[in-house]
């Protein structure tokens, strides 16, 4: 028997598991895959693919029962957590920060890891490509960036880092390589040589693909900073090291705190007695495993995360097998089931991408009560209704 069972180990599932552990609950996470966090950027956007600020969008959050106060509290909690796990985040939901992406477009985000710096309006910028990383093309990034920031003075270099490997490398491959002190030193020497050959003076900011170290990112940034100058990552096409770092750090911390993980397991059914969910079934239909619980948190990521599937007759709930609305939530709400993150449709977008801030605040909104209290409150509610 678990106090809290969470379906999904994306950003929503992991944050909720950690919070439940902070409240001393017995917590299990059941997940069939790693979650969209792995394909994400590490940024926590307020409203994805929009520049709306909180004043303009708080009514949308309210539609999902998330108040401005709750957002503030949850962001504070998130930042404290990220400090504790050595992956600090900066930024604010009240003043969005312009950041450059791996395509050179500038987008506004709320929170960003400290491997990223907001993009200034003025100054000397150097965009650094790594030969072999096909997903980051420095001249392309430069040209797009200059359209949005015409006053920047931008130059580019490409460092022949993986010479002769003949492979196409991802940003994560490069990040792992950068963790090694010697490799890093060699890289810095090559970069300096390139800069000398192209007569590039020390810039105010260097823009890199999201590859500045996987575990030793602090050292990578420090070394680059000490030997050349300030740097930022520009996450783009997945996989981005910034996103993988976030996942790894949260997952590692959750395990350390005693969250029980059932990985590569798919939940396909929920048992409901008397308006309360008591267990979920995983494994296969013929020999299912029942996991008993007091509270169930659905963090199954909707269409993209795999909790829901669009079939020709509409949306289908492949997780709980309960009747759902076109928003992906229960037709008949159940008191001890909570939908968070991208598991239901957002009022602000055509797509199912909820964005980091909603994911954080909805995870934070789950009330961890004991079953008895819960029942008591429900009884009270009935009583009031009757009165």
């Amino acid at each position: 028997m678990f106090d809290v069972v969470i379906i999904g180990q994306g950003l929503a599932g992991l944050l909720t598991a950690i919070r439940a552990k902070q409240e001393n609950k017995r917590v299990a996470v059941i997940a069939e895959g790693t979650g969209k966090i792995m394909q994400s950027t590490g940024f926590m956007d307020l409203i994805p693919s929009s520049s709306q600020n909180l004043d303009e969008s708080k009514h949308l959050f309210l539609q999902k029962n998330i108040s401005e106060e709750l957002i503030d509290q949850s962001v504070e909690w998130f930042k404290a957590l990220m400090n504790e796990i050595n992956l600090p985040y900066e930024g604010s939901v009240h003043f969005l920060s312009p950041v450059v992406t791996g395509a050179g477009y500038v987008k506004n985000t709320a929170l960003y890891p400290t491997t990223v710096r907001p993009i200034p309006n003025k100054g000397d910028i150097l965009i650094v490509g790594l030969n072999g990383i096909i997903d980051f093309q420095p001249t392309y990034v430069k040209e797009n960036l200059m359209k949005e920031r015409p006053d920047l003075n931008v130059s580019t270099v490409t460092v022949d880092f993986f010479k002769g490997s003949g492979r196409v490398l991802s940003q994560v491959d490069a990040a792992r390589a950068m963790d090694d002190k010697q490799v890093r030193a060699r890289f810095i020497t090559s970069l300096k040589n390139e800069m000398r050959t192209k007569e590039i003076a020390t810039p105010d900011l260097m823009i890199f693909p999201s590859c500045l170290g996987m575990v030793n990112h602090k050292d990578v940034i420090e070394d680059l900073n000490d030997s050349i100058g300030p740097v930022t990552e520009a996450p783009g096409l997945p996989p981005n090291a910034a996103a993988i770092r976030l996942h790894d750090a949260l997952h590692h911390y959750a395990v350390k705190k005693g969250v029980r993980f059932y990985e590569d397991e798919t939940v396909f059914h929920a048992k409901v007695y008397d308006g309360v969910v008591t267990e979920v079934l995983t494994g296969n239909q013929t020999k299912p495993q029942a996991i008993k619980l007091k509270q169930l948190v659905v963090a199954s990521g909707g269409i993209l995360g795999g909790g829901l599937e669009q079939v020709s007759t509409g949306l289908s709930d492949r997780t709980l097998s309960l009747p759902i609305t076109s928003e992906g939530t229960l037709v008949d709400p159940i008191n001890n089931i909570f939908y968070i993150g991208s598991s239901s449709k957002m009022p602000w977008s055509e797509t199912w991408i909820s964005g980091g801030i909603y994911t954080i605040s909805s995870s934070y909104s789950v009330p961890f009560t004991s079953m008895d209290e819960k029942n008591k409150r429900r009884d009270e509610k009935c009583y009031i209704n009757q009165a």
């Binding site: 395509a103 500038v106 096909i134 392309y140 997945p238 020709s312 199912w352």
Partner: protein, 536 residues
Amino acid sequence: MEIFETEVAVIGGGMTGVGVLRDLALRGVNAVLIEQFDLGHGTSTRNHGLLHSGGRYAVKDKEAAVESYQENLILKKTVPGSIEETGGLFVKVPDDPDDYVEKWVNACNTIGIPIEEVPLQIAFAEEPYLNRKAEVVYRIPDGAVDPFTMLVDVTADAVEKGARVLTYHEVTHIETTNAQVSYITVKDRYTGEEKQIHTKLVVNAAGPWSANIAKLANVPMKIINNKGMLTVLNNRINKQVINRLRMPGDADIFVPAHNVTIFGTTGINVEHPDDTSLQREEFEHMIMKGKDLIPTLPQIRMIRAFSGSRPLFQETESSDASGRNVTRGMALLDHEQRDGLKGFITITSGKLTTFRYMAEKTVDLVCEKLGITSNCQTAEVAVPHREAKQALENINLTPVAKKKLFSWAGVNASSIKANLLKDNSIVCECESVTWAEIESALPEKGQFNLGDIRRRTRLGMGPCQGTFCYRRAAAMAVEKGVATSDEAEIALQNGVEKRSKGMRVIATGSANKQLELMDGINYVSLGMKKGGETYV
């Protein structure tokens, strides 16, 4: 205004037009082809890719069946790089009328199409997805044709033999003097610049648009545009073509194409040749029907859907019906005889399979008009093969990408090889497309366009539908100075929109999820702005 001269101007860069162009080139006739967008903008890249053996028409339309079978044999010989000799099955399932089988067998025998009855157990072993309730199965020499490569290769061979091609040029005017065509005006779609082409003879091969072209010449003509939908399955589920053994109807053919299967089709008359809209209901109707042959069809993952229009010529009552309607399978109109306009010929209707024959008949007429005596050579002279194993044996590339190039590079082998030495990056993992191939496919002039690259390299045709490779190709093009960032942006907006359209109609399962991911990466991760500028 730029003015140039040619003996013959061919309007339309579909299979019919490029077939005519190559035939003219082989006969030594000076010709230029004008296409309003890229080669294959029309029906020629929006079809099933079935190299008919005539079986489908055997009962209904004997002449079309004979033509198909003859051309089937000729194309296997003359365009071998674009044809896979898959063979095909005709399958009768319960409820298909019994008497059709006998009629069909007799018709095939009379025409001379070789058929052979296949024991059910063997058919099921060969095609595991086939309905186990199938009652009768026949084997027939159907094939699969890659319309993209065939179009490009036939054109390249024509150009090699002296023909000229103007893509992204729209014919906007046809000037006639004394009941004789004197010149046509074409407009560069990118620059807006106009050019005059003075010519003795215009061949209208504009497929579904041929009535529009006729109108430019003040000639009455009626074309019915019969739109058909097709869907691409994620995998190749059949080794050979699977047809239904009954009167041809909707959703009764599965054609293998490289690593996928193409399934369809439907037929709905539409007003405009540009109408390639996709309806969800039509798609569902197709899946329901297709279950009769492949019962698991609703569970099979689909990549995208697309549609194209069959140009069906209708003789109008007011005009002289004698025309030169060679067979029911195609319409060759001598407008001098039909409408009293000299120097204007229309070739339309027909099939991909019979393009060469259509071209032969057209160019026979052209030569007659121009007083040239020269025999058609396209039934014997082959287009260069795509095979390139020897030339590329020693390249440094992953085994999958290498294998693909061996049967793909063809006449481009040496340029691809040279490009690979500079950069051997793989841009599209689904279809193993290298930057080197993209570079060889880029036009010398004109705009950077991902659709043009896709049609020549298969970039973005796989399950991810360009989610990754379109961005990479655009970024690399800017990096290497072959496109400006504005061009790259327009190409991306356009490319992403076109890919999404075909995915959106599938709307369920993995295609729906893939579309969500594509939007997520473009608009959320990368911060691309929605609804930027696209092409006209």
